[in-house]
């Protein structure tokens, strides 16, 4: 990281007298914090993937010694054979790492930090020090979570949803420290997330450049802004629930203990009241980013910008009243099931608007298939599958059959991997020059994309089929069930694809690090984009601009008639443009 940032600093002559530690470690610069989040979350993405590989080994070859499994301690895999308790740790930690520390940090930690000030024309976040605190509490939280794998009895093993009473009582789960560390880590994570969110919201409301009206904001900023609101209001509920869980574990309280009148389902309500907005926290920023990528790749304005904004807001609003769809068979009042089904089905509407508008954007465009665009289009294609498979589970009678089977695993991976992660890869390639001043290698980027796309589908599509056959989730050894024995070849196929999928990520990994030092030097605006971030040098200097840009138009004026090029930056003043009338400076 140090060398990268050193290159970054050498690239421009901005006056900067901060010490090394202030610049790169306890930095308050939103871009450095964004890059810190990037490294942290990519690390957790890698770890989470590694855990998934072990899960897939066990499912394909249950009870067989895993290659390199001998490296694991006796308590996890004696002789390389994964133990059920380790398998459950893998399942739990894979989910926890991927949801909280990989995807959420990549989208909200990395992109909100890096992009919001650059895209709205601000020098930095509204509260740079709070921003730094947000990163370091996320860091601490991640370390606690990672360390929990190595304490006696290992990490939490109650699934990432941490259903009580299994998670609350160590005589049921078999893990004590690991469970407690999960709760502590999530409380710290909640703190980080709340600090981040309040920063993003304040920044977007108060720190926009002159002329950057609400409806001139890029869709990525809209999405990150609405996501921040979701995070701000949803995460404290999780923090409250995690505190109750921690007290249950260490103080012996009885919130969820039926023997003392506690209610196990209360945890599910609290968790999913957070958890469903969380699902949209994990997809909305990706949708925003994909809008940028597709408009850029299509050289066309976004089709129906306003309805895109309202669709984001609509999804966010509906996200608050659908949490019960995770609980149709939980023993909750079935009448509530009907209500939640209707609200859940309605989410299909704004989602459909977004998909069709992306297609509308591509329609009659001039499609440039650079790596980010490939990922953007893949997002639309894969998110469509993920969205449509969600309808099966929204319909309560069908959900009763496929709930907690591999069908839901397929669905959530189509949204989180096929959706969010494709957008993230596209976003990393797209904004890489602004972060590090160099381009990522295009050819290897394309090879990585195609391999990922193929093996990704090979991994997750068959999960729909085994899910339909009734294959339950989180089974250590599916061959225990006679009706699942015939599915074993499919499990093996999935696992082989999964190994190849993980292997393909090595290309990205190498490309990422190689390009940082040896990649082609990036120009200021390598993608010919309109956003404000492309009006400052690559990499962007500390403070972003000496004089803040003034905005004259929306962010998607591609191929506008009358413009000399096929793009028209937001800050370029045409003779017909009038300067924004500024109200007296309000913020201080």
């Amino acid at each position: 990281m140090t060398t990268v940032a050193a290159t970054a600093q050498a690239a421009h002559a901005h006056h900067d007298d901060r010490s090394f530690i202030q610049k790169y470690i306890f930095s308050t610069d939103h871009k450095i914090i964004g890059i810190q989040f990037l490294f942290l979350s990519l690390f957790f993405l890698m770890v989470g993937g590694l855990l998934a590989m072990q899960i897939r080994w066990q499912l394909a070859y249950p009870g067989k010694p895993m290659p390199l499994g001998n490296l694991l301690p006796e308590t996890m895999a004696p002789g390389g054979v994964l133990l059920p308790e380790y398998y459950l740790q893998l399942v739990t930690m894979h989910g926890t790492f991927m949801v909280f520390f990989a995807i959420m940090l990549l989208l909200v930690g990395v992109y909100a930090n890096f992009l919001i000030p650059l895209k709205i024309g601000a020098h930095d976040m509204a509260f740079p020090r709070i921003n730094m605190a947000s990163f370091w509490s996320a860091f601490a939280s991640g370390i606690v979570m990672l360390m929990s794998l190595f304490v006696p009895e290992g990490s939490s093993r109650a699934g990432w949803t941490m259903y009580v009473p299994l998670s609350a009582r160590h005589d049921y789960s078999g893990a004590e420290f690991g469970q407690e560390m999960w709760s502590i880590s999530i409380i710290l994570f909640g703190l980080s997330s709340i600090l981040g969110s309040l920063n993003y919201i304040t920044t977007v409301i108060n720190n926009r450049a002159a002329g950057m009206t609400w409806f001139r904001m890029p869709l990525s900023v809209w999405a990150l802004f609405i996501t921040a609101i979701l995070g701000l209001l949803a995460v404290p509920v999780l923090a409250g629930a995690a505190i109750m869980l921690l007290f249950e574990q260490i103080l012996g309280t009885h919130f969820f203990d039926p023997a003392y009148g506690g209610q196990p389902i209360l945890w599910q309500h609290l968790f999913w009241f957070f958890g469903h907005p969380e699902v949209y926290i994990l997809i909305l920023p990706a949708m925003g980013m994909v809008s940028e990528l597709i408009a850029n790749g299509s050289r066309k304005p976004i089709f129906g910008y306003h309805s895109m904004v309202f669709a984001i807001a609509g999804i966010a609003f509906l996200g608050w009243i659908v949490w019960g769809h995770h609980m149709f068979v939980s023993g909750m009042n079935p009448t509530l099931g009907s209500t939640f089904m209707v609200s859940t089905l309605l989410i299909a509407v704004p989602s459909a608007i977004k998909v069709f508008n992306w297609m509308g954007t591509m329609w009659r465009g001039n499609l440039r298939f650079h790596v980010p665009m490939l990922h953007g289009v893949a997002f639309v294609a894969m998110f469509t599958i993920g969205g449509l498979s969600g309808i099966f589970m929204a319909a309560t009678p069908v959900d009763m059959f496929i709930h907690d089977t591999y069908f839901i695993v397929a669905h959530l991976h189509y949204v989180l991997f096929g959706g969010s992660l494709f957008a993230i890869f596209g976003g990393i390639v797209f904004w890489y020059p602004k972060m590090f001043g160099r381009m990522m290698n295009e050819t290897w980027g394309k090879i990585h994309f195609w391999l990922t796309f193929i093996f990704y589908n090979g991994t997750f599509f068959p999960m729909h089929i085994i899910g339909m056959a009734g294959h339950m989730r989180r089974l250590y050894d599916p061959t225990i069930y006679d009706f699942l024995k015939p599915m074993q070849p499919m499990n093996e196929f999935i696992s082989i694809c999964a190994f190849l999928l993980y292997g393909s990520q090595i290309i990205f990994f190498v490309n990422f690090w190689w390009s940082m030092f040896k990649g082609k030097k990036a120009s200021q605006n390598p993608w010919n984009d309109n956003g404000l971030e492309w009006t400052t040098p690559s990499p962007a200097p500390h403070g972003n601009w000496d004089t803040l840009p003034t905005v004259y138009r929306g962010p998607y004026e591609f191929s506008a008639p009358g413009a000399s090029e096929d793009y028209l930056p937001q800050n370029r003043k045409l003779p017909t443009d009038r300067d924004p009338v500024l109200s007296p400076a309000a913020g201080h």
Binding site: P84, E85, L88, V91, R157, G159, Y163, P165, Y172, G174, P258, I265, S298, R299, K300, P301, G304, Y305, S307, V329, G331, P334, G337, M341, V342, L345, L346, A348, V349, I353, V355, N357, M359, M362, R364, N366, R368, F369, V377, T384, I391, F392, A395, P397, V398, M400, F401, H403, T405, I465, R473, R474, I480, Y481, D482, F483, M490, S559, A560, P561
Partner: protein, 248 residues
């Protein structure tokens, strides 16, 4: 390999499968439409020298169309699903003549209580649970429970008769799941949840726990045998004799 839903084994399996297929057709059409559209756009509008994108900010008409169609479809789907949902899980959905079976889940076993000749399940209480000797916590003071049969990991049900399972859990949340019956219900400690079904095809099926319940979650399997009424009665007689319970 098995490429479709499991065989249908209960009265609401055909309804659920019909619902599943209907959704599959609707989403399948959308899926094919979207993906073909994308492919077509990718091919037809790829960048070529001299080509310029068509400058437009959208079309309100088109957007209204593709907002209204999903909205209407979803509302219809919601109404259709809800009827079936209420039939299966609704508050008063359990048929009056349903045959009661107690299902007690614990780490990592299923214990089934059959009502015996009196057709009534005895009262149970978590406080009375004793491993091996009284796994389900039957109350010895309740006469209805004296003829109850308690069997581990074996569920036997008569065919063509509604069965209502009284689901209780001892420790953590489990989930009662028989794929062929298309029935699933979480079993929550501290609650007694009723879930009913009516088996249609005699044979043996598997019951699995589908909610992560600990180390032995994957091993928490029971066998469901659907008998004709005569076979069922015979099984009941036989088992009662083995267990030394009074028979009718």
């Amino acid at each position: 390999m098995h490429w479709w839903l499991p065989p249908q084994g209960s009265t609401f399996a055909p309804d659920i499968d019909y619902m599943f297929t209907a959704i599959l057709v609707i989403t399948g059409i959308t899926f094919v439409g979207v993906e073909l559209g994308l492919l077509w756009f990718i091919f037809a509008y790829r960048e070529r020298p001299g080509r310029k994108a068509f400058y437009t900010h959208g079309s309100t008409k088109a957007e209204i169309i593709w907002t209204a169609i999903p909205a209407v479809t979803m509302v219809i789907m919601g109404i259709a699903s809800n009827g079936l949902w209420v039939k299966i899980k609704g508050r008063n959905s359990v048929p009056a003549n349903a045959y009661p079976i107690g299902v007690h889940a614990k780490q990592f076993e299923w214990w089934f209580t059959y009502p015996g000749p009196d057709g009534k399940l005895g009262r149970t209480s978590p406080a009375l649970v004793a491993k091996t000797t009284n796994p389900t916590g039957l109350d010895p003071d309740d006469p209805a429970g004296h003829d109850d049969l308690v069997v581990r990991n074996q569920m036997h049900v008569p065919v063509g008769r509604p069965v209502v399972a009284y689901l209780t859990a001892e420790d953590v949340i489990h989930s009662f799941y028989v794929p062929e019956f298309r029935v699933r219900q979480d079993v929550v400690p501290g609650m007694e949840i009723k879930s009913w079904f009516e088996a249609t095809v005699p044979g043996t099926y598997e019951l699995g726990c589908s909610q992560l319940c600990g180390l032995g979650h994957y091993k928490m399997r029971a066998v469901v045998t659907v008998h004709t009424q005569e076979d069922y009665d015979a099984w009941m007689q036989r088992t009662a004799k083995e267990k030394g319970e009074p028979t009718s």
